[in-house]
């Protein structure tokens, strides 16, 4: 399963719900305002760090750059471009968008 989250974890609980319900071995892609969940130093970082034990976290590079956050991605989070986004969708048999 590929989970896609596009909301800031500091504004909505989409990422929190996603991480609660994502099964081991699934992937989580953070896009748009969701990219703030992949950034260092904030109060949500610990939850993402903990989740990385069971799921792979990806973040969309263009959305990081737009928001000035490209240089503060949590270690171990994979930055992908639009091509990588397509690859993730193609690699997984199903996907869930958390609105």
């Amino acid at each position: 399963m590929l989970h896609i989250v596009n909301k800031s974890p500091y504004e909505r609980n989409s990422l929190e719900s996603c991480l609660r319900l994502a099964t081991n071995g699934s992937a989580v892609l953070l896009i748009e305002d969701g990219i703030y969940g992949a950034t260092k130093g904030g109060s949500f970082e610990g939850k993402v760090q903990a989740a990385m034990a069971g799921v792979k976290i990806y973040v969309l590079g263009p959305d990081l750059s737009a928001r000035g956050m490209a240089d503060r991605v949590i270690d171990g989070v994979n930055v992908v471009d639009y091509g990588g986004f397509v690859d993730l969708v193609a690699e997984h048999s199903n996907c869930q968008s958390w609105l």
Binding site: E11, A66, G68, M69
Partner: protein
């Protein structure tokens, strides 16, 4: 220090009110941040006592190094630096909102006044008009 409506001049009998624009949304994901900024610029024409407050995800609007080329949207962040030219110089940022997001004043692209939660609450309470984005 800060002016209040009582000690400001009135212009041809018109009362100058304190307007605060409250920004709580991150840029680009929704249209709120850009629309809020445009309304603030329009408000400058009415010669009111205008300030902006940045709380919650609104602090992300002021993050340095925004580069929107790859998402093909307009990077409107330099406009915050132009506000000074419209006499909009009171940009209040809540300290707790910065801290929760791992940001500091040095991460912001414009000079701001950092207020703690109690100071922000007081600043909001003294306004005549608050407009939220």
């Amino acid at each position: 220090m800060f002016t209040s409506s009582e000690d400001m001049d009135t212009d041809e009998g018109g009362v100058i009110k304190q307007f605060m624009f409250v920004n709580r949304k991150a840029p680009y994901g929704t249209i709120y941040a850009l629309e809020g900024l445009e309304v603030v610029l329009i408000s400058a024409a009415f010669e009111q006592d205008v300030s902006m407050a940045f709380i919650d995800d609104g602090v992300y609007e002021l993050k340095k190094a925004q580069d929107t080329k790859a998402i093909e949207q307009k990077n409107f962040s330099p406009t915050y630096r132009a506000l000074e030219g419209y006499d909009i110089e009171k940009l209040y940022v809540e300290k707790e909102s910065l801290e929760a997001r791992g940001l500091t004043e040095a991460d912001l692209l414009v000079d701001v006044i950092v207020l703690d939660r109690a100071e922000m609450a007081a600043k909001m309470a003294e306004q005549d008009v608050l407009i939220s984005f």
